[in-house]
């Protein structure tokens, strides 16, 4: 559980259960989702999912979105990588296997968000854009926001090519002539830049590649990697 709040459900799955409908067997995925979400008190058929395409598009989810992407990938919200809502009982979901999932929660306005941030989305500022959207729509103050960082590949393992130096000059580390990208640092800067308090950021420092026995890692497993689900819902 990322945040301990009685008004909130907030959780990330672990392996071996694959949660993605764009990879693996539909039957297994739906059964896995049903089992995992039932433990959280969520009906898997009400899930709100996006067709994550490493964009910076943010969607305000309402009751009419419930069930989108719950049973088929095709019905998921198109070209979206961040979901926000201030409605109760709308379970937002993102799927990851190395990319960073960010949980956003403002207890003052009772609003939430969930972001899927790989390097492309991070470069486009998807996390910052989600917070700006929460400010605009819910009148959130970034200083009131609590942020949870889900498991992702960390700078210890995220080796990239030298071309990333031009994209992320401050978040690339050179070790033994190899470049490593710090996805968390990129997103942390976006958060702090908007006024989120450092003390309100919860980072459990889990690397999906180092902890591959417990988490899926696309880098480590390649195309056979399943996906974890991160879910957040206001009760």
């Amino acid at each position: 559980m990322i945040f301990k709040d009685k008004n909130l459900i907030c959780k990330t799955s672990t392996r071996p259960q694959n949660m993605s409908l764009s990879y693996g067997a539909t039957r297994d995925t739906l059964s896995n989702r049903k089992s995992f979400l039932a433990d959280c008190g969520i009906d898997y058929r009400s899930l709100v999912c996006a067709q994550q395409l490493h964009s910076d598009n943010v969607r305000y989810a309402t009751e009419t979105d419930c069930g989108r992407g719950a049973l088929t990938y095709e019905s998921a919200i198109a070209d979206t990588d961040a979901l926000i809502t201030n409605k109760k009982n709308i379970p937002l979901a993102v799927f990851t296997a190395d990319c960073l999932s960010l949980f956003l929660y403002d207890p003052k306005t009772s609003s939430i968000g969930l972001v899927h941030a790989g390097w492309r989305g991070s470069l486009k500022g998807v996390t910052a854009k989600a917070i700006v959207k929460m400010k605009e729509r819910f009148r959130c103050k970034p200083s009131d926001l609590y942020i949870g960082l889900g498991p992702c590949i960390r700078s210890c393992c995220y080796q990239v090519g030298g071309e990333f130096a031009g994209l992320f000059p401050d978040d690339l580390f050179l070790r033994k002539r190899r470049y490593y990208l710090d996805l968390v640092s990129i997103n942390r800067k976006q958060l702090l830049g908007l006024g989120v308090k450092e003390a309100n950021i919860s980072d459990y420092r889990i690397c999906t590649s180092c902890s591959n026995k417990k988490y899926f890692s696309f880098r480590k497993e390649g195309n056979s990697a399943g996906r974890m689900i991160s879910v957040i819902m206001l009760k």
Binding site: T26, R27, L30, K34
Partner: protein, 69 residues
């Protein structure tokens, strides 16, 4: 799905209470294949219940979920 010890009527009876517009059709046999293959169509709120029930009869070879518009 592929089954060894069931027939269409048994499958139909087992699934009929779980959803609507149930169709159970036996597929032409491939000479190499053991058992009998059926194609099942059914309208349900929770497809996982159908998966679990069908798994008791035999092997589910493929699944296609479509949402009603």
């Amino acid at each position: 799905m592929s089954v060894h010890n069931s027939n269409a009527e048994f499958i139909r009876n087992s699934l009929s209470g779980l959803g609507q517009a149930l169709e159970v059709s036996q597929l032409a046999q491939d000479g190499q294949e053991k058992g009998i293959s059926f194609k099942i169509n059914i309208l349900v709120e929770d497809p996982t219940i159908i998966f679990d029930t069908c798994a008791e009869f035999g092997r589910i070879k493929s699944v296609k979920v479509q949402e009603r518009s």
